[in-house]
Subunit: 352 residues, 4 copies
C-alpha cells in the first residue's frame, strides 16, 4: 500500500527517483486497438519539462519516453503498457550537502522518519520529477477519450489574478506565452513578476484553472468515489498543491440556495453552471471546471536555516536549479491527472 | 466499482437509501481487542441527526445503530463489524411529486441518466442520510486512535466568517451552541443569519474548519495517496462540498517561498506551520488543519422551475423538511471522515 | 485487509458470526434494472441450509434474507444491495465448553493466536454459516447472467466415486436426492455410506464437480487474474476445501501434449475439451468444468483430545449438531461462488 | 482491471511481451531497509531460464534484471522497485507463421476474440516469459522473509511419481539434477522419460510439490482471503497449471474426520499435519505443503491441425524452441509466487 498507483480500471503505477537510473510506470487497463500518436505524447512531455524559458528552471531533461510493451504495430494491445524515462543527468555530488540535512518545507525529514533513511539525491521519490510518468499516462488517456477536451491554464501567479470567466478566454492562446495564461496582458504582468521573484532568489505560488468540455453524462460514482472527489484527490496528489475547488467552490459557501441552484433547460442542460458540471458526484454534461492552488516551491536561492539529523540548526543556501514558479509547468500535469481520472470513470461507467 | 467503500486497511462500505428499510455498513479491518464505548458512538450519531434546534431541519431521526457482528463481550474481534440504522420514517407518499421531476441542483437527473431509473424517495442513495453510516465508522475509528484529537467547527456561514486562528479558539465551546462555532459572538450572529434565511425559505452554505492534533510523524503515502490527498477526497465525498484546502491553502498560492517555508526547531517541530502538518504527503507531527466549503443545499421552500422526465419545465415548491444550513450538522461528518482516513493510514504505516 | 470482500466490479462483502445477532452482506456493483426473483433466491438459501434430510445436520435455520437497500419496485437500482440474515437460534450456552478449548482441526487456536481472543460461540466467524451470505450474492449473480448455466453436483463421498463424464449426466436429477448426485445408483450408495458414518459419530469428505455452460468467449484476465485462478481462489475460500482442479486437472499432468491439445473445429469450438473451457486464463466458449475437494468436517461425535488455552490436553466429545457429510450442502455454495466470479469478469469484460 | 497486479501490501505489477523490447515490473510496498543480495536474485533468475540442460528448451535468455528505482546504497528505500529485463532475442520473423493461425490449446484464439488483435510474436503477453518478472519479485520477497524456508521440487513427470513423504527428502539435492527432483533415482527415471518425449517431438506435464517451513502462526485472512486460497490462486495463475491441492488434498476427501483431525501437542503444534499448516485459512505454525499440477505445454514438434482466422483448418508443425517438460523450470516460479503471497500476508498481519 505504498500508494504508487492511481485508478481502478485505468490503473497507473509509477516508479522512480529524481536521480535514479530511470523513472517509469505501467498503465494497466488501457483498452486495445487505440492507435497511439506518439508525437502527441512527446508534446505533452515537453510541456512539462524544465528549461523551457528564462522564467523556469534551467535543467535540461530530454524526457524521452521509451515504451516497452502493450503496443504492437502502433496500437494498444490491451496488455499493460510499460514505459521508462531514463534520467540522463545523475550527478549525485550535487546533492551531498543535503545528505544529512532536512531542508525547510521539504519531505526530507518525514522520509527519514518514515523509512529510516532516504535517497537524498534531488529529493528522491518526493521530487516532482515523478510527475513525468503521470504525463505519459495522461497523454494516453487523452487519446483514449478524443472527444473530451481538457484545457488547463495559469489563472494566478502570486498576487496577480486573472479573473476573466473561462468562457471569455481563448484557450488556443495558452501555449503562446511561457506563463501559460491565455490572457496576454495578464500573462505579461505575471511573467514580469516571476522575473522579479527570480532575481530575489525566491519562489512564488499560483493557481491553475482547468476546464473539461464534452464530458458525457454519467461519469462518477455516488458516495465515496464522486467525480469531483477523485479529481480533488488527483490534483492534491500533485506536488505543492494546497487546495482544490470546483464549480462555485469556496465562494459558493457564501451563497444562498436560491442563487446557487442551476435551473434546467428542457434538454437537461442548465442555464447556469455553479455546480461545475457535476451533480451528486456524477457528471451532468455541462462543463466541468475547477481550480488548483500551488504553494511556492520550497527550494529558494536565499540562505535559510535547516535541521541536520543530529538536531543542529544550520544555515543552508539553495544550490543548482532554481524554479521561481512551477505553476506554468504544472499545467500539463493537471491535465494529465484529469485525463487519468476521466479515463478511469469512463471505463467504470461501461459496466452499468 | 460502484464506489461505496472507503479505505484500504480500515475499510468502510455503506449501503442504504433515504427511505429504504435501513441504512448500514460494514467496517472491515478494525483491529481486535478495542473496548468500544457504544455511548460515545451514539453521541456522534446524535450530533449528526437533524432536528437538534430551531435552525436546523425538524425531521425526527432516532438513528439508533444496531451492531450485528464483530463485537464480542464489548470488544472488537478483528472480524467485520456489520451494523444497521433502521429508517423509522418511510412515508413514501411525501415524495411522489418528485417521482417524474428533476429538482434543480439535485442528483435526480444524473441518477436517471446513469441508472435508467431511481429510488426517488427522499433522494434515495444521494441523500445525505447516507452519512449516518460514516459517522458510525468514524466514531469507531476515533476510539481506535484515542491519542489523536480531531476537532471540527463551523468557521463561516454564508458571508459571516470567523477569522480567529484556531490556536486562539476554545474547542470545548464548539458544542455549546447550535451553530457549532467555538466563538460565541460569531455563533450568535451566524445563528441569527440562519434564522433569517429560514424565514426566507432559503438555504445558505458555509465552511467547516478541522484541526487534528497529536498525529504521529509518518502517516500518509508518497505520490498518489498523500495524506492530504486522501483527506481531500474524503471531504469532497461529503454531500454539498465544493472545496478543500489545507495549511496555507489558496492563500498560500499568493505567497513567496521565503515567507511560506516552515523553519525547524531542533526537535523536528517547526516554528510556523503553513504546511498544515503535512510535508510531501506525510504527517510531520505538527497540527493538521484544513477547511471544507459547503454550498447551500438545493432544497429550498421557494418556488423554482424543475424539469420533468418528458422535457417540460414546471414550477415546483420544496415540501417537507427545510434545513436552512446543514453546515453545523456537517461538523461530525467531517470529523468522522478524518478519523476514517487517519485510521487507514495508521494501519498502513504499521507495515513499514 | 481483513479479507471479507470478493470481487472487483461485482463486489461482495460479508459480515457475521455464527451466533451473533445476524449475518449479512453488501453487494456493490450489481447493475441497475435487473428484475429480481426473490423466490429463486430463497430456493438457493434453502438448498444450503442444514436440516434438509436425515443425512445432514438437524439444526433449524430459517435463513430468511431481508433486503434493506438497492432494490426499488422489484428491480436493482445500481446502488449497493445490503441484506441481513437474522440468527434466530443464538443459545450461547451450547458452546461454553469450547470457550477455553481448541478443538482439533478447527480454527479456534489460530483465531486466538491471531486476534488475541475470539467469539467462540459456534465457531464465530470461522463457521460455515458465513456462506449463507455468499449464497445470496451468488443467487443475484445468477440472475444477472441468465444465459449462463451453472450446475454443481456431488461426484464423490468418501471412497465412493461417480466417474461418469458430466456429458452423460442428467443435471435435472441433482436435486432429486439428498446427496445431490445426479446418478441415482451412486446417490443411493453414497447416502447409505453417509448414514453409516453418522452412526459412527464420524464425518466424511467428498468432491463437488461443477459445470458451467454458455459462457461467452473472453471472460478472464491474463496473467494474475486468470479465470481459473479466480475460480480456484473462490472455491478454496469455502470452508473445508483442500483442492481444486479444472479441465484435465491432476490427471492432465500425466499426459503428453499430443494427447492433451484440443484441436479446433472451423467455428472456433474444439473437438475435445481437456482445457476445461479456458485457454490462457480466458474463457473460450466451451464448457468450463472443475472439481473441488472437501475434507471431512472436524466436528465429530466421538471423543478426541483437545488443547486448552493453558496448554493442557483434555478429552472432548462433540456436542449439538452433527453433520456427517457437508458435501451435498456445499453444492449451492460452489455454484454461488462460481456465479460471483463470472459476474465480476462479465463486468470487467465490458470495459474492453 | 487487466489483472496484471498481485498482492495488496506487497504488490507486484508486471508488463511485457515475449518479443517486445523488455519485460519488467514494479514492486510496491516492499519495506525499507532490506539489504538486497542481488546475486541471489540472479541465481533465481538463472533457475527459471531455459537452456539449462539437454532436457529443456535451448533458447538463450540471459535474463539480466536491471533495477531502476527503490534501492539506494544497496538497501530498499520503501519506494517502488522498478525493474526491467531486456529481451535480447527479438527475431519476429520466427513467428510469422502463427500471425493468422490459432495453435491448439494456446491463447492465440481467445486473445484475438477478447482484444480484437494480438502481438503474435512468441505468444506475446500469454508467454510464460512473463514469469521472469515474478521470479524477481519473489526473490526479493524471499529476502524480506529470511526465516521462512520455501522449497519446491518436481514430484512427478508424466506417469512417473515420487511418492516419498517430503519429510524423508533431502531438499539440498533439488538443484543437483536437471529435473529438480530431490530423489536421485526418481530423477534419473524422469530425466530419461523426458529425453524420450523430446525425441518424439512431444511434451509432458508433471507436478511440483512445495513445502514452506518456519511460517509464523497467524498469516492468512479469514473468509475470502484464506492463506491457501491465495496460494491456490497464485499457483493457478502460473501458465499451464491445472490443479492445486494442499495438506491432505484430494485424498483428504476420501477420509473420515476421526482420521483426518490433527490432534494437538501441549505447545500448540499438532501430532499429524493433514491440515497442511493452515486452519480456517490461517497458518498454524506447522509446515505448509501443497502440490501444483502442470499440463504438458501445447507447443509440440509434431504436426497438428490449427485454425486460421478465416475459419480454415490447416496443419501446422511447431518450430523453434522445444521444451519437452517445463515442470523443472516451474519450480522457481512456484517458489516465487509462494514468497509473494507470504510477503503480502506478513505485511497484512502487522496491521492487527
Amino acid at each position: 500500500m505504498a500508494g504508487n498507483s492511481y485508478g481502478t480500471l485505468y490503473k497507473v503505477t509509477t516508479f522512480g527517483e529524481s536521480h535514479g537510473e530511470a523513472l517509469g510506470g505501467i498503465i494497466d487497463g488501457c483498452p486495445s486497438g487505440i492507435q497511439l500518436d506518439l508525437e502527441a505524447i512527446e508534446v505533452e512531455m515537453s510541456r512539462r519539462k524544465p528549461g523551457q524559458s528564462a522564467i523556469v528552471t534551467q535543467r535540461k531533461e530530454p524526457d524521452a519516453v521509451q515504451f516497452l510493451s502493450g503496443i504492437f504495430e502502433g496500437k494498444t494491445t490491451g496488455t499493460p503498457i510499460g514505459f521508462i524515462i531514463p534520467n540522463t543527468n545523475q550527478k549525485s555530488d550535487d546533492y551531498s550537502h543535503i545528505k544529512d540535512n532536512y531542508r525547510p518545507s521539504h519531505a526530507d525529514y518525514v522520509y527519514d522518519q518514515k523509512y529510516g533513511f532516504r535517497d537524498y539525491r534531488g529529493g528522491g521519490r518526493s521530487s516532482a520529477r515523478e510527475t513525468a510518468s503521470r504525463v505519459v499516462a495522461g497523454a494516453i488517456a487523452k487519446q483514449m477519450l478524443p472527444e473530451i477536451k481538457i484545457n488547463a491554464y495559469v489563472s494566478s501567479v502570486g498576487p496577480i489574478h486573472l479573473d476573466t470567466p473561462y468562457q471569455e478566454l481563448d484557450f488556443s492562446k495558452i501555449e503562446s506565452n511561457p506563463v501559460r495564461c491565455p490572457d496576454e496582458k495578464s500573462a505579461a504582468i505575471m511573467e514580469e513578476y516571476i522575473r522579479d521573484i527570480r532575481k530575489q532568489g525566491d519562489t512564488v505560488g499560483g493557481v491553475v484553472s482547468c476546464v473539461i468540455q464534452n464530458v458525457p453524462v454519467g461519469l462518477g460514482e455516488p458516495v465515496f468515489d464522486k467525480l469531483h472527489a477523485e479529481l480533488g484527490k488527483a490534483m492534491l496528489s500533485i506536488n505543492a498543491v494546497k487546495g482544490f475547488e470546483y464549480g462555485s467552490g469556496f465562494l459558493g459557501s457564501e451563497m444562498k440556495g436560491s442563487e446557487h441552484n442551476d435551473l434546467y433547460n428542457p434538454d437537461g442542460t442548465t442555464k447556469t453552471n455553479l455546480s461545475g458540471g457535476i451533480q451528486g458526484g456524477i457528471s451532468n454534461g455541462m462543463d466541468i471546471y475547477f481550480r488548483v492552488a500551488f504553494k511556492p516551491v520550497a527550494t529558494i536561492m536565499q540562505t535559510q536555516d535547516s535541521l541536520d539529523n543530529k538536531g543542529n540548526i544550520t544555515p543552508m543556501t539553495g544550490k543548482g536549479r532554481h524554479d521561481p514558479c512551477v505553476v506554468p509547468r504544472a499545467v500539463p500535469i493537471v491535465e494529465a491527472m484529469a485525463a487519468i481520472v476521466l479515463a478511469d470513470f469512463y471505463l467504470i461507467n461501461k459496466t452499468y
